[in-house]
Every structure is written in C-alpha cells, then in structure tokens.
C-alpha cells in the first residue's frame, strides 16, 4: 500500500465516521409550519398541546429528543381525542376522521421531523453531502486508482489473512444468522400489530425446510461442514456485517431516525426529480455510488480479463442509468417511477393494484411499461436465458447482482460450498418462488374479482408480510448485511425468486454451460473458493464434467482465477443434459487411453 492509498483509506474512514454520526448531528425546531398534520381535528389538538408544553419554537439538540417530545404530545392528543369522541361525539365527523390511529402517529413524526431540521445539516446540506459522500468517494478512488499501476493479474493475496474478509467460524456465523432470523420474526410480530399468524407460519416453514434437509435428504446433523474453519474469525467482517444490518433496519423500519441523511442528499434529488429526498432516494443514490466506485475497483482487479471488465461496466451502466437516473427523470416528467430492468417476481409489487392502476392511468407510456414488464417476464426471460444463461440478468443487468459483484467482490469466497448448503439452497429459493407466485395470484384474484381473501387468508395481509419478510428482511437485511458473513450472493443464492425462475430455465433449457479443459484440472480449489454461488466447481472440473447448475450466475470468476486455464463459459446448441454427463478427463480403460 503506498502513501496515496493510505491517505485514501484515512479520508474514507473520516467520511464514514461523519456519515455514521450524521443522524445525531442536526438540531430540530418544531414550528406551526413544520408540524405536518393535514387532518384538522388532529392538528388543532396537537398544536394546542404543543404550545402548552412549550415545544413549538423550541430548538432540540437531537432527533431523539425531538421525537420524544413530539411523540408524547401526539400520544396525549390521541388520548384526548379518544376521550372527546366517547364523551361528546362531534356531529358529522366519522370516527377515524376524528380519532388518531397509531399509523398516523408514525407518519406525523416522520413527516414533521423531515421538515423541522434547523441546525447545521439543514442549513448546509451541500457541505454535509461533500463531507460524507464526496470525501468517501475521493478516499475510495485514491485507494483504488493506484492499483492500476500494479501488474495486472489475479489479486487475491491476503484475503484469508484480513479480518475484514476471512469470514467467521461456523459457530459465530450460525449465531449471527439465527439471532437475525429470530429478531426478524419477533419484530415481524410487532410490525404485524401483534398478529401471530404470519411469524408463526414462517417459523413453521423454516422448521419444515430444516426437517426436509436433515430427515428427508438424510443430511447428517453433525457432519463437519467444509465451509467452517477452526482458526479464523474475522472480527472486522463481523462488525461490518452488524453495521450493514443496522443500516437496513433503520432504512426500512425507522426512517424517521435518518432524516439527516435524506437532508444531505436532497439537493441531488431536487436536481434530478424536483422532489425532496425520501429514504428510497438516499438508498438509490448510495447504492449507485457504491456500485460505481467499487465497480472501478473490480475493473482494476480484473483488468487482464476482458469478460470481467465488460460485465462490470454493464452492471455499472444499468444501475446508474436504468435503475437510478431514468426513474427520477420519469418522475420529473410526471410519469410513473419505473425501473425498466426490474422483473417480476424480483419486482414483487409489479402486479399490486396501486402499481397497475398507476400505470394504466399514465397514458401510453404507462401502458407500455405494463406490457414491457409482462413481455420481459414471459418472453424475455426464457428466450434470453435460453441463449446466454441466467448470467445475462444476474451478473450483467440486475441491481442486486451489481452490488454483489462490486461491493461484494471481496466477500465472494465466504459462500458455503458444502453439499448441505446446496440442499438448503434448493428448498429455500424454490420456496420463495412458490411464495411469490401464490402471493401474486392472490393479489391479482383480489384485483380482478374484488374478493379480498381466499380460504380465509387476506391477500393484503399476505402481500404485506411478503414485502416485510422477503422484500425487506431477506433481500436487504440478510441479503446485503450478510456479505461479510455468508458471502456476497446470499440473497441471490437462497432467496431471489427471479433467480429461481431464471435458474429453472438455465438448468433445463439453455445453451449455457461452463466447459472444462480436458485433463488439465489440478483440483486446487480456486474455482470453488471464489464461486460466489457456493457451487463446488472443482467437483465437476476434476472429473472433466461440464457445469450446468441452475444457480450459476455466470460471473466468470471461476474461469478467471483458474491457474491452469481449465474453465470456459460457453453457449452452444446441443442438449446440455447429455453434455454434462460426458466426462472428458483422460481415462484409462482396458483397451485404450482416451479423451472424450
């Protein structure tokens, strides 16, 4: 590491620290203008109480203090309104136009705090942006750019020596995973307003999957998994994982605590769409910046490999142009927000009533978007996957894939290569696909027939739970938060229903396969180690067998890290099923030595 790189790391860490502290940095003042309550009954009551308690015009030093005050006023108001309603119901006002619901309290807090910033951050959002994002980008680039001066070639030196990338022992890893799952279910119980049905059903399904793997597939409980090592514990990776998990929890379920982050990216949002930044804009912008900066790192690392460079440039383009910028511009032009490359069932809300109605109400472009989404799903996916394998999407176009291939590249070796992991993978990912289909069918049934439930299960509550469990907890909290713990494709491998769909096409009807080069394999294990999908590539390569696996995203890294030139990603006609059976390593038999 040279001096420029050291400065880069230092700058990045400073930016990272400022960013982390940012939510606690601003000051907040509630005024009549910034109290965002549109319901007149609510507003009058809250304003009265707020004035009595003297919090109007009072500057608070932190968001937590601000929220505490506001919340206590709101709760008192809620009580008062409830009492008023029961003692002397106002004439001509519906019950819930008068009373204040719990979810309204949440919204009032979020909307008001967003407007009430009065400290340095609110006054200097640009400076805030430069000190965090700007400085972070600069530091990152200073660290990455000098790498272009080193000789090109595979650069995996020290990955298993670094506390950030060497992964966890089996025990701590399982502890992290289980505590996250249990945490999600408990939070889900609260999120669902104390309804036990969905968390319980999820728990039962999880137990069924465990049962299927250990009883039906006869996996041994105490089989030592090869993925685990006895001596390695990456503490930095663990901390980074916890940080990421925390970030996603705030993003999804406590956005009112991170309004300062939204404030500093608001100038960018206003420039693009004309609107103030929501937490989703914040997330999209961060995501894009990370894909771009870490994409440059990916290119520096694989600049001897044109496949990797083209592929990385592709995910950088799709994230920046199609996923991030284009939807913002559409919004500016008063068209629906639409990500043209997001396909059902990854885009699980595509068939939700509000989305369909929104698209149908948006003229020709809206209709086009609706048709485009359906055509892509029904024709685009199978046809393109037939020709090129699922890689065309997963490692060239997809946003989740884009993040995994850039930010996640240093963690690709942490995927579990054991047969046991593969067994879990198949049940879980196809289970999610089934869940996505069932959920969508119910939502559409509701949409077309107007009947809100089937067999006593309401489609609204199912879709709410799917969004919470799969859309937020699995794809976000576990999917990205677990990069440093279980590898960079945890979501893509175990959870993504679109990956499952693409995978089925790839496995049964595709020209794509990875071929092996005769008898050249030395079983070294680089391919398996660096397979982010946890495929034991070596098991095939050392037999001279082609690799046809539904999970393979075609990132091409196995081929890149192979020291003997054994693996090649190829498309060819011919039945992949029989191709995969042929073993083409050199074989000795009674009468001949032969290849093929």
């Amino acid at each position: 590491m040279n001096i420029i790189q050291k400065i880069g790391i230092l700058l990045f860490l400073v930016a990272f620290l400022i960013f982390t502290l940012m939510p606690g940095l601003n000051k907040f003042t509630l005024t009549e203008d910034t109290l965002k309550i549109s319901n007149e009954h609510h507003r009058t009551e809250v304003l009265k109480l707020a004035k009595e308690k003297g919090i109007i015009g009072k500057e608070q030093g932190s968001n937590i203090a601000f929220i505490k005050d506001l919340k206590s006023v709101l709760l008192t108001a809620q009580n008062n309104l409830n009492e008023q309603f029961s003692s002397s119901p106002p004439a001509g006002v519906g019950e819930w136009d008068f009373k204040m619901a719990d979810w309204q309290i949440k919204n009032y807090v979020r909307d008001s705090i967003t407007e009430s910033g009065s400290g340095w951050v609110t006054k200097n959002p640009m400076q805030g942006f430069l000190l965090t994002f700007g400085l972070g980008i600069l530091g990152g680039l200073l660290f990455i750019i000098p790498k272009f001066a080193q000789p090109a070639g595979i650069k995996n030196d020290g990955i298993y020596h670094s506390s950030l990338t060497k992964g966890l022992q089996f025990g701590p890893k399982m502890f992290m995973l289980l505590s996250t799952i249990i945490g999600v279910l408990i939070y889900g119980y609260k999120y669902n307003n104390g309804n036990l049905f969905w968390p319980l059903l999820t728990g039962i399904i999880a137990l069924i999957i465990v049962g299927l793997v250990f009883l039906y597939e006869k996996e041994k409980l105490f089989n030592p998994p090869r993925s685990a090592s006895v001596v390695l514990t990456g503490w930095l990776g663990m901390l980074f994982g916890i940080y990421l998990v925390g970030f996603y929890i705030l993003l999804y379920w406590a956005p009112h605590l991170i309004t300062n982050w939204m404030t500093i990216v608001s100038p960018v949002s206003e420039f693009l769409s004309g609107n103030k930044a929501s937490q989703w804009f914040l997330y999209g912008l961060m995501y894009t910046i990370i894909v771009l900066v870490m994409g440059i790192r990916m290119i520096s690392k694989y600049r001897h490999n044109k496949y990797q460079m083209v592929r990385t440039a592709s995910v950088m383009f799709f994230q920046t142009a199609i996923a991030f910028t284009l939807p913002e511009i559409l919004v500016r032009l008063n068209y629906p927000y639409y990500d043209f490359k997001n396909i059902w069932p990854l885009n699980y809300s595509f068939f939700f009533d509000y989305n369909i109605n929104n698209l149908l109400a948006s003229g020709n472009l809206g209709i086009f978007m609706l048709v485009w989404g359906i055509v892509l799903m029904l024709i685009g996916v199978p046809v393109i996957t037939y020709f090129y394998g699922k890689r065309w999407y997963c490692s060239w176009v997809c946003g989740c894939g884009g993040l995994a291939e850039t930010l996640g590249d240093p963690y690709r070796q942490l995927s579990d290569k054991s047969l046991r992991a593969w067994k879990f993978e198949r049940w879980i990912i196809h289970g999610v696909l089934v869940a996505a289909v069932v959920m969508t069918v119910m939502v559409l049934f509701h949409y077309f027939t107007g009947s809100a439930s089937i067999l006593g299960i309401s489609s609204d509550s199912l879709r709410g739970w799917y969004g919470f469990l799969i859309g937020s907890a699995f794809a976000g909290v576990v999917g990205t938060g677990f990069y440093p713990l279980m590898g960079n494709r945890t979501w893509c491998r175990f959870g993504c229903p679109l990956a499952a769909y693409l995978g089925l096409v790839q496995r049964f009807k595709s020209r794509f396969r990875i071929t092996t080069n005769g008898g050249q394999c030395i079983s070294c294990g680089n391919c398996s180690t660096y397979c982010e999908m946890g495929i034991d590539v070596r098991a095939y390569a050392q037999k001279g067998q082609d690799i046809v696996r539904s999970s393979c995203v075609g990132c091409g890294v196995c081929s890149a890290v192979c020291p003997r030139g054994v693996l090649r990603l190829e498309n060819a006609s011919g039945d992949i099923n029989t191709r995969a059976d042929e073993m083409r390593t050199i074989h000795i038999s009674e009468d001949q030595v032969g290849i093929l």
Binding site: S229, K306, V593, G594
Partner: protein, 448 residues
C-alpha cells in the same frame, strides 16, 4: 480383500477412488501428513491467503465414509512383504492383500553446507508450509535456490507478503531445461518485472549459520557474495521419497521400479506417482514423471490391475500446465527446450511480451507434434486430437480457432500466427473455423 494404499496424494487417492468404482475391496489409505486428501499444488495459495487449508481439500469429509474408504493418519515404518504386514510408528500392525505405494517425493538436497539448518526448507508438505509461516513474520529477505516451477511458486508466495526475494538460478535463463528459449526469456523478464531479484548463472555455495543453528544468509558460489536472509528455500527439484525402502527386498533405482502394469518386483505390491520409476518408459517419456496428471492416471491404471484387468500404463500424449506469476502456461505434445533435428518451430509472440503460441511440426511430413502456450489457453481435447491424428500444420493453422479456450471477449491471436506462417512460407492460408463450441464438438466427434 484388503487393499492398503500408502500415501494420500493425488496418485494414492485416485487409485482408492477407482478401486472403489471397480471393486468391493476394503480400502485403507494411510498418510502421516494429513488425514484428508488435499491438493498439493494448492499449498502456495494457503500461504498467500487465497484459500484456507480446508478449501484445498477436493472432497468433503463425508465423501470417504460414503465411499467406504478408510483414512488412517499413521506413519508406516516397516513393511514385511512376506507376511504382508505393515508396521506403524505406534507399533500397530496392519495386514494387506495388495499394497499400493504412493509415497511421493522429497525436495532435493545436494550436499550444500548448512542445508539442514533451521530456516531452510523446500515446498512439498503441509509441514513445509508451516515452516515457512514460522519464519515469515518480520522476515526481511528470502533466498530461493532452484529455477523451476516450485522455486517460482515459493518466490511468488514470499512476494505476496511483500518479502523481498532473491532467486538463484543455475541456468542462463529461467527453467530453460524445460521451456524453449523465447518462452524462458519471457518468464525471466516477467519475474524481474514483478520485482523479484532473479540471479541467473548463479549457484548456491553455502548457507550461513547465525551461530544458533538458524540460517542467516547464503554465499553465492561464483562470486563469494554473501546475501543476508532469514529464510532459504531449497527448490532444486524433487526425488522419490523411498529412502526407507532402499535396503529391503523391493527393487529400486532412483524410484521404485515398476513394470508396465505398475507392479513392483514383489507380487501384489504396486508403486505409482512420484515414487514410481518405469523399467521401460514409453518412447519420448522419462522413467519418473513427478507431475499431477501422471499420478492421477497411474492411480486409475493401478486400480484396473489390482482388480484383475491387466492394463498397461499409457498416459497418452504429453500435456502439462503451470502458472508463472501472472502468465499461464500450457503444453501439449512434444516440446523439447532445444528443437530436435527434424523439428520445425512456428513461434509468435505478442507485442506485450507476455503471450505467445508455439507449434512444433515435422520438417518433412509437416505433421504437427506439439503446442506451447504462454498467456493463452488452448483446448486440451482439440490439440490432443490433432497430434493423435497426425494432422498437418496447414490444416491445424486453418482450424486453429477450434483450440482457442480463452474467455469470451478476449482478443484472438490465431490470425497473427497464421500471418506469420504465411509470411515465412509464402503460402496464403486463411482461418476456416470459429471457436464456437458447436464446431469444436463436431470436430471432436469425427473419429479418426
């Protein structure tokens, strides 16, 4: 029937796997080095932090149980060939019906003064790796003697930890007793470009003792110069690890002598891999070939012979591969470092000096004999078939794209090689085939 295999390297494990496929014998694999089979060729990646030790194990632990292959971590000290028993270091006796010796190699030591000091070692066993690890913290400099594959691997290992390395190479150019001149020069340049101090035409004189039995430097034989260092790597080749069998009834020369069925002079005792020496090597082949692929093929052959199907060992057309720092290397067929009388060489090198293609063909018959690739990947099956079918150079060059195995989007250089050939011969050949897998499969399916 109880088949015991001593040694769990690629040869021993291949024989165990094939025995299981072909028979119902009880199979025991004994090794004192490690319980589980690991890929010896991947040792360097553990040190460099690319992989953990478990990642170098090609099979998960359940594999052995499922295939009823017993693994025993024991050191065998004595074999009684008459009673068909083995004795372990702990005094245990093991009966066998057939015995496979897959004992591997040990690093060569040529009697250098100081060669047995602490901080001196080869690179063959896990224990060698542990030794390197032990001396690596705060290591200021390492010196490696030997200009072959393992020498460069060791240099790359230290280099990956920013430990300065000096390589003492006896020859005038890196590995030029195996690589043709241009390729040897290319790798020599590449080594220097990476910042490794490559000293050619240089021999190790002696290793200097720091007074406490640990190496503290080496003295160069030619100049008497002393190079201070904290570790000395001995990588001047390997030889069969058979010292403890030398005085027994088993016939040995440099290795354990075996016939074409890999059987030793003793009934039911076989030897394979690095430790086996062919009594009658096949034409063009050396009696001992200490490489991964021959070990694997011997393991398969011996399994046939043990199960009663007599098969002669025939490794087919020579092939090998390696990676020199960032340059991959593949070879198929005949590729002597100095061309034979009847050989004609066609050589093309990229302007960047890190890629090349060489094709050797017969001057008179124009039949292609061998391929040598640097920084470019060729398909094993295609090259093998061309050589086997005695394909003429013109045909091979026109179809050369069939052999291209580089990843997608890579630039293809077959045209440049062809142009060079056209310029040299005044011919006007053009490329006829694309590298598409469909065409390759079609080509491979036509039996000669």
């Amino acid at each position: 029937m109880h088949t015991v295999i001593i040694g769990n390297g690629i040869s021993g494990i291949s024989s165990a796997r094939w025995l299981r496929k072909l028979s119902d014998n009880k199979i025991t694999v004994i090794s004192s080095e490690s319980k589980y089979f690991y890929s010896r060729t991947a040792l360097m990646y553990i040190y460099m932090g690319h992989m953990r030790e478990v990642d170098t194990q090609p099979y998960e632990p359940w594999f052995w149980e499922k295939n009823r292959i017993d693994l025993l971590q024991e050191h065998i000290t004595k074999i009684d060939f008459n009673k068909k028993t083995l004795q372990t270091k702990n005094g245990k006796e093991i009966q066998y019906d057939q015995l496979v010796l897959a004992l591997g190699s040990k690093p060569n030591k040529f009697g250098w003064p100081g060669q047995d000091l602490n901080g001196v070692g080869g690179l063959y066993h896990i224990q060698d790796l542990e030794n390197m690890e032990k001396y690596s913290p705060n290591l200021k400099k390492a010196v490696i003697t030997g200009g072959g594959l393992i020498g460069l691997e060791m240099a790359e290992m230290f280099h990956s930890r920013n430990i300065p390395v000096t390589m003492l190479v006896r020859e005038p150019s890196y590995w030029n007793n195996a690589l043709p001149n241009e390729e040897s020069a290319m790798i020599s340049r590449h080594i220097t470009h990476h910042g490794i101090d490559l000293r050619l035409n240089t021999n190790l004189g002696e290793i200097v003792d720091d007074g406490n039995g640990t190496a503290c430097g080496v003295i160069v034989k030619e100049t008497g110069e002393k190079i201070d260092c904290g570790y000395v790597g001995l990588t001047a080749g390997v030889s069969p690890n058979i010292g403890w069998l030398k005085d027994g009834p088993i016939e040995t020369n440099r290795g354990i002598l075996v016939d074409e069925n890999l059987q030793t002079n003793i009934q039911d005792v076989y030897a394979i891999g690095d430790c086996a020496e062919m009594r009658n090597p096949l034409p063009g082949r050396r009696p001992i070939e200490a490489i991964w692929y021959t070990g694997r093929m011997m393991g398969e052959t011996v399994a046939y012979n043990i199960t009663g199907k007599k098969v002669s060992y025939d490794p087919g057309i020579w092939f090998n591969s390696a990676k020199f720092l960032d340059i991959e290397y593949q070879v198929y067929g005949e590729m002597p470092p100095q061309p034979a009388e009847h050989h004609q060489n066609l050589y093309w090198e990229h302007d960047d000096g890190e890629k090349s293609i060489r094709i050797v063909y017969d001057k008179n018959s124009e039949v292609v004999l061998g391929f040598n690739l640097m920084g470019i990947r060729f398909r094993h099956e295609v090259c093998d078939k061309w050589i086997k079918d005695k394909t003429k150079i013109d045909q091979v060059l026109q179809d050369l794209s069939l052999a291209n195995f580089d990843p997608e989007f890579y630039e293809q250089y077959e045209g440049m090689l062809l142009k060079k050939y056209n310029d040299q011969t005044g011919k006007n050949l053009t490329l006829q085939k694309k590298r598409k897998l469909d065409q390759v499969l079609k080509f491979l399916k036509v039996r000669s």
